[in-house]
């Protein structure tokens, strides 16, 4: 029997880019959050007009102080309400959930390319820290819409080479993450990525034969594998009845493992 539910206290909340917030929460539950790429399922408040929890990635963990950092974009009512919460208010968190990025697939000394798009960037931060600790060389390519949406550039830079792209060219390279990879001729032993589906598809077609891991997003109900809201088809049975659940089999899958 596990206890995966806990009440965490907000120790800080701040806006770090347009519509993007960083929230840090503290509590004993954080002790179990060791795997980058896992996520937590957050009940923003206790009002019943907004029923479901919201899945948010683990962006960073301070195991000693039991602090979980999440970065989120205000999308709709749930994230909007979360952004209004003050220091010392509480949130109900279920987690850690899912299978994260396999750090052990990259040997010390090898190169890992971490590619993030928009609000897919957060889980790469905890991942990068752990890879670096293991002695892996990390390269980051982070894509955003515009300069105003860029966040954590400094933080990633401290861990390794970091290339920023923006769609409108207002910061870094103009274009998509794939443009940066081509332009700077980035090579790697393992690819780790999280971001919008179009980006993951582009990466898959470019690197289908590489060792790579992609983190997917899907609307979730339970977050624990019971409701079947978040299923996808495995590549070997694209039309059949077999399936993978993003919440428990993922959110991280091998490149080519599931139909995007």
């Amino acid at each position: 029997m596990m206890n995966k539910q806990g009440i965490l206290s907000i120790v800080s909340q701040q806006q770090i880019a347009e519509q993007i917030f960083e929230i840090k929460c503290q509590g004993p539950l954080v002790k179990s959050m060791t795997n980058p790429g896992q996520f937590v399922h957050v009940k923003v408040d206790s009002y019943d007009d907004l029923l479901l929890r919201r899945p948010l990635s683990i962006c960073d963990i301070d195991l000693e102080q039991e602090i979980l950092t999440m970065l989120y974009r205000v999308e709709g009512e749930g994230t909007n309400r979360l952004s209004k919460k003050q220091k010392w208010e509480q949130v109900d968190v279920l987690g850690p959930l899912g299978h994260g990025f396999p750090v052990e697939e990259t040997e010390p000394g090898e190169v890992a390319l971490l590619v993030g798009g928009g609000i897919g960037v957060p889980p790469l931060y905890y991942l990068s820290k752990q890879l670096k600790k293991r002695g892996v060389k990390v390269i980051h390519v982070l894509g955003f819409q515009a300069k105003s949406a860029v966040f954590y550039e400094k933080e990633f830079n401290e861990l390794g080479e970091t290339y920023i792209t923006t769609v409108d060219g207002s910061h870094g390279l103009q274009g998509f993450v794939t443009d940066a990879i081509s332009k700077y001729e980035l090579s790697f032993d393992t690819l780790y990525s999280c971001g919008p589906n179009v980006m993951l598809k582009a990466l898959t077609s470019q690197f289908e034969n590489s060792r790579g891991f992609l983190s997917l997003e899907e609307r979730m109900g339970c977050g624990i594998g019971a409701c079947l809201a978040c299923v996808c088809h495995p590549t070997e049975d694209p039309e059949g009845t077999s399936y993978k659940k993003v919440c428990t089999d993922g959110p991280v899958f091998k490149v080519g493992e599931v139909v995007l």
């Binding site: 029997m1 596990m2 995966k4 539910q5 009940k43 019943d48 007009d49 907004l50 029923l51 479901l52 929890r53 279920l94 899907e218 609307r219 979730m220 109900g221 339970c222 977050g223 624990i224 594998g225 019971a226 409701c227 079947l228 809201a229 978040c230 299923v231 996808c232 088809h233 059949g240 009845t241 399936y243 428990t248």
Partner: protein, 309 residues
């Protein structure tokens, strides 16, 4: 006997709380959180003859105090359910209510016959009302004669008592209930979800890939209470009540309306511990209300008051 224990056809309940079908899979996930033997019963996910993938995603959309789903009867098929899921559940001391679905009458009969033979299935729940199945399904749930015929056929082959799960998407729930009772149903489950839709303002399309879906959660509770209040007064078979249950007060409200047990659906997603929580909280609530045994509450909103003790 415990003040929460109840005996319903095929369901020897330690307490009146069970997870609702489709909101608990086949129990495995929740077994990580607590001992399933604590539950009154378990209503397992709808089972069909063949394995089904269900609908494309997105399959969920939130609404005010509600949840729309269009899972689409995804399940591994009756053979796998009987060879893998049910045997796994056998290690728990809890009666299983097996939810039976299909597109044709013959599907229901086939599944009912096979599944009711499993040693730990103690009752069937005929899902005649799943709003996400496109062919056939709907008619079973909205035409009393068809529902009655289906009930009769399933009763003929089933080894265990049969509960018919009613759809709220009808003009006259009482006729539906009476028809299936007359056809031999041992109990009723109500309600299934209301048909609903949400449209995304950005894409201008329905959020659900299936367009429409089934509405569950607190938003539908008043409809469930009304229907159970109507039906329980005119049938002589017990009702498993559901629709928006999230608190112990909700449980009591369903009993007062006329339910003899309750199922919790959507709230499992919000709080995986909800069922054991409700079970733990019930005795104190009975104390507060001055009620010795939960069965005294059944139909309390319409029964003449009789203070025997």
């Amino acid at each position: 006997m415990s003040r929460l224990a109840l005996k319903l056809p095929g369901l020897d309940l330690k307490n009146p709380i069970m997870p609702a079908s489709g909101c608990f899979g086949f129990g495995k996930e929740y077994a990580q959180f607590y001992d399933l033997s604590k539950l009154g019963a378990i209503a397992i996910k709808a089972t069909t003859v063949e394995a089904r993938f269900g609908n494309p995603t997105p399959r969920l959309a939130e609404t005010k105090s509600g949840l729309l789903n269009a899972i689409g009867l995804q399940n591994p098929g009756m053979d796998k359910v009987c060879s893998e899921e049910l045997p796994w559940l056998d290690s728990f001391d809890v009666p299983i209510l097996a939810n039976v679905a299909g597109s044709e009458m013959s599907d229901y009969i086939e599944v009912a016959e096979k599944v009711s033979k499993s040693s730990n299935v103690t009752a069937l729940e005929l899902n005649i009302s799943c709003p996400n199945v496109k062919k056939g399904g709907i008619a079973f749930g909205t035409v009393p004669e068809v529902a009655a015929e289906l009930t009769k056929e399933v009763k003929r082959v089933s080894q265990v008592p049969v509960y018919v799960k009613l759809s709220p998407n009808v003009a006259d729930i009482v006729s539906m209930a009476k028809a299936v009772e007359a056809a031999g149903a041992d109990g009723l489950s109500m309600i299934n979800t209301l048909l609903g839709m949400r449209i995304d303002l950005k894409t201008k399309k329905p959020i659900l890939a299936n367009q429409a879906g089934g509405l569950s959660g607190p938003a539908i509770k008043p409809v469930a209470i009304r229907m159970i209040h109507q039906v329980s007064q005119v049938v002589n078979i017990p009702i498993i009540g559901m629709g928006g249950i999230a608190t112990v007060d909700d449980v009591i409200e369903f009993f007062l309306a006329g339910a003899s047990a309750v199922a919790v659906g959507t709230q499992n997603f919000v709080d995986p511990y909800i069922c054991p929580k409700l079970i733990d909280e019930l005795p104190a609530k009975l104390d507060e209300m001055g009620v010795d045994h939960i069965s005294e509450l059944i139909g309390g909103s319409w029964k003449e008051v009789c203070n025997i003790h």
